[in-house]
Structure formats: structure tokens, C-alpha cells
């Protein structure tokens, strides 16, 4: 799966997710990516999220909706919300996932329960990138 989230100076957010699916899937199989609230969602009142990982589990757990609901209705940061929801999903289904997120204040969430997830973001002249947990490679562009 690939995905992107963005925020502008006014707090407008957007999300996009695109996927080829799972190797060896049955024809007609649809995962979480195109399902709003499962793999993709954006709302200026909370934030924007794109998910990746085990689609059947992400869809059943409504991962992205849960993350944004936590941000909207509690004092969770988007990073805390991501960690909580993905932790719960992995506990319930024994499957892994990852998300990228930006909340309506511009705070970022990058979290995954899988071994690795590739991500990158640019903010001003700073370009950050990572693949392994806690990795944050930084360069000026």
C-alpha cells in the first residue's frame, strides 16, 4: 500500500491511499484502503489518516475511524491515538498494521506494529524519513 496525508497553513487536511492488494488474493477481493474510515479518512475537525497492513483486520477494526475519534473526543495526541488503536488491533487479531496521520493542528502520527514501515515527510526545508521503529533520518532540502 502507498498513501499520503497533508495539511495546509489553514488546517485543511486530505488523505489518499492506493494499493495493489495482497499477493495471491482471490479476484474481486477488496481490502481496507478504499473503505472510508477503515484505511482512509480526512476531516478538518480531527485530521487525516492513511493505513497500511493486513486489510481484512484494519477493515474489521475500523482503524482510521478509531484513531480520529480518539483525537476528537479525548486529549490524545494523534501519535498516542495511533499507538493505542494499532496496539489494540494487533492484540485482537494478531495481525499488524501501520498508519500515517496529521491532525488538524499539524501534529504528526507515524506508528506501526509491523516489523517495518517506510515513511517520509517534508515540512519547510526539512525532509524526514524512516523504515525501522524509532528511526528518523533527517536532511535539509
Amino acid at each position: 500500500t502507498v498513501g499520503a496525508v497533508a495539511v495546509d497553513a489553514c488546517g485543511n487536511v486530505a488523505a489518499a491511499t492506493s494499493i495493489g492488494g495482497i499477493t495471491g488474493k482471490l479476484p474481486g477481493r477488496i481490502g481496507d484502503s478504499p473503505v472510508l474510515g477503515a484505511g482512509t479518512y480526512a476531516d478538518n475537525e480531527s485530521g487525516a489518516v492513511s493505513a497500511t497492513g493486513h486489510g481484512e483486520s484494519i477493515m474489521r477494526f475500523n482503524v482510521v475511524s478509531r484513531v480520529l475519534a480518539l483525537v476528537h473526543h479525548s486529549n490524545c495526541t494523534i501519535q498516542q491515538a495511533a499507538a493505542q488503536v494499532l496496539g489494540e488491533m494487533t492484540k485482537r487479531f494478531n495481525e499488524t498494521a501501520g498508519i500515517i496521520a496529521i491532525d488538524h493542528r499539524g501534529q504528526l502520527g507515524i506508528y506501526f506494529t509491523s516489523q517495518r514501515m517506510s515513511w517520509a515527510y517534508q515540512r519547510g526545508a526539512e525532509l524526514h524519513c524512516g523504515v525501522d521503529p524509532d528511526e528518523d533520518e533527517f536532511e535539509n532540502v
Binding site: 500500500t1 502507498v2 498513501g3 499520503a4 496525508v5 497533508a6 495546509d8 497553513a9 489553514c10 485543511n12 486530505a14 488523505a15 489518499a16 491511499t17 492506493s18 494499493i19 495493489g20 492488494g21 495482497i22 499477493t23 495471491g24 488474493k25 479476484p27 477488496i30 481490502g31 484502503s33 478504499p34 473503505v35 472510508l36 482512509t40 476531516d43 478538518n44 475537525e45 485530521g47 487525516a48 497500511t52 497492513g53 493486513h54 486489510g55 499488524t96 498494521a97 498508519i99 500515517i100 496529521i102 488538524h104 507515524i110 506501526f112 516489523q115 517495518r116 514501515m117 517506510s118 515513511w119 517520509a120 515527510y121 515540512r123 519547510g124 525532509l127 524519513c129 523504515v131 532540502v141
Partner: protein
């Protein structure tokens, strides 16, 4: 708020040998998205162009380089959403176009629906002037090898692994 574009290129057990190209791909996508955001001021343009970049990159499971069905076909899904008015467009079971995310956006903007799949989605692609590629054009050597490996494992385990590694 400082304008920001954040991208991902998928999760799972990414092999060490793939890392340099994967890092390059996500960094390129973030830069493209950020440049578009700076130039147009549109978060929707930014996420679409960032994802377009990854769909064109053979190293990611989307567009060119997508995972294959059991019958060696590419079937892609995508969704795009803007947070201001909760406008959204979604597509499923899309074949033979390199940018499903752009098709999702066209469905959002140019149809009375928000989610189209299969033949209906492909008709919109044709009507919107998408370049419909020859059958199999999005299939890569790597995706064929992954499918062959998956089928081999499936035979060994007697079907206990119902799907390959997740996207």
C-alpha cells in the same frame, strides 16, 4: 500550521536489500507532494501527486508493481478524501491504469457517486481520457516471483496460509 506532506510506502517485512530504493521512493514522493502544496495551495493536489509518484515506482505495491491475484492479474483499489467538506472518491477492482488515485478523484469530482468498482470504474476511466494500458502492462517480474513463491508455500502448507504478505 506549517504545511506538511507525509507519505508511507507500505508496512511489513521489508527486505534489507530493498531499503535504498524504498527510502528514495518515499522521500521523492514527500518532496513532490510538498512542492505541489507550495505551488497550488491544495492539499488534495498534494496527496494525489505524492501517491502518483509512488504508483509509478516499481518498488511499491500500487499502480506499476502491484501485487497479483491468484490468476496473475492486477486489481487495484484507491481512495482520496478532502477534510473540509468530507468529499471523497473511492475505486476498486481497477485494471490497466497506472493512477487509480487520480481515477478516485475524478469519481469524486465528476460523478454523482463516491465509490465505483470494476467495470463501472473502468468506464469512467475511459470517459475521462485515462490511458488504458495493454493487459499485463502493470505486471512486474518481482510481482510474478512473489506470486510463484506464495503458491509454492500454499502447496507446502496445504492451504493454511490463505493469502500472501499484507500490503
Amino acid at each position: 500550521i506549517q504545511p506538511t506532506v507525509l507519505v508511507h510506502g507500505g508496512s511489513g517485512n521489508i527486505a534489507d536489500i530493498k531499503l535504498p530504493k524504498i527510502r528514495l521512493g518515499v522521500k521523492r514522493a514527500a518532496r513532490i507532494g510538498h512542492d505541489v502544496l507550495q505551488r497550488t495551495g491544495s492539499v488534495l493536489d498534494a496527496v494525489e501527486q505524492a501517491v502518483n509518484s509512488l504508483e509509478e515506482d516499481i518498488n511499491f505495491n500500487a499502480g506499476y508493481g502491484s501485487a497479483l491475484t491468484y490468476e496473475s492479474q492486477v486489481e487495484m483499489d484507491a481512495a482520496i478524501m478532502h477534510g473540509a467538506q468530507l468529499e471523497a472518491g473511492c475505486v476498486s477492482l481497477v485494471r490497466d491504469i497506472i493512477h487509480p488515485i487520480t481515477l478516485a478523484r475524478r469519481i469524486m469530482e465528476n460523478t454523482r457517486h463516491r465509490y465505483l468498482a470494476g467495470e463501472g470504474a473502468m468506464r469512467i476511466a475511459a470517459a475521462e481520457g485515462f490511458d488504458i494500458l495493454p493487459k499485463g502492462a502493470l505486471v512486474t517480474t518481482a510481482s510474478l516471483e512473489s506470486l510463484a513463491k506464495f503458491k509454492k508455500i500454499l502447496n507446502k502448507t496445504g492451504g493454511s496460509n490463505s493469502y500472501g504478505s499484507p500490503g
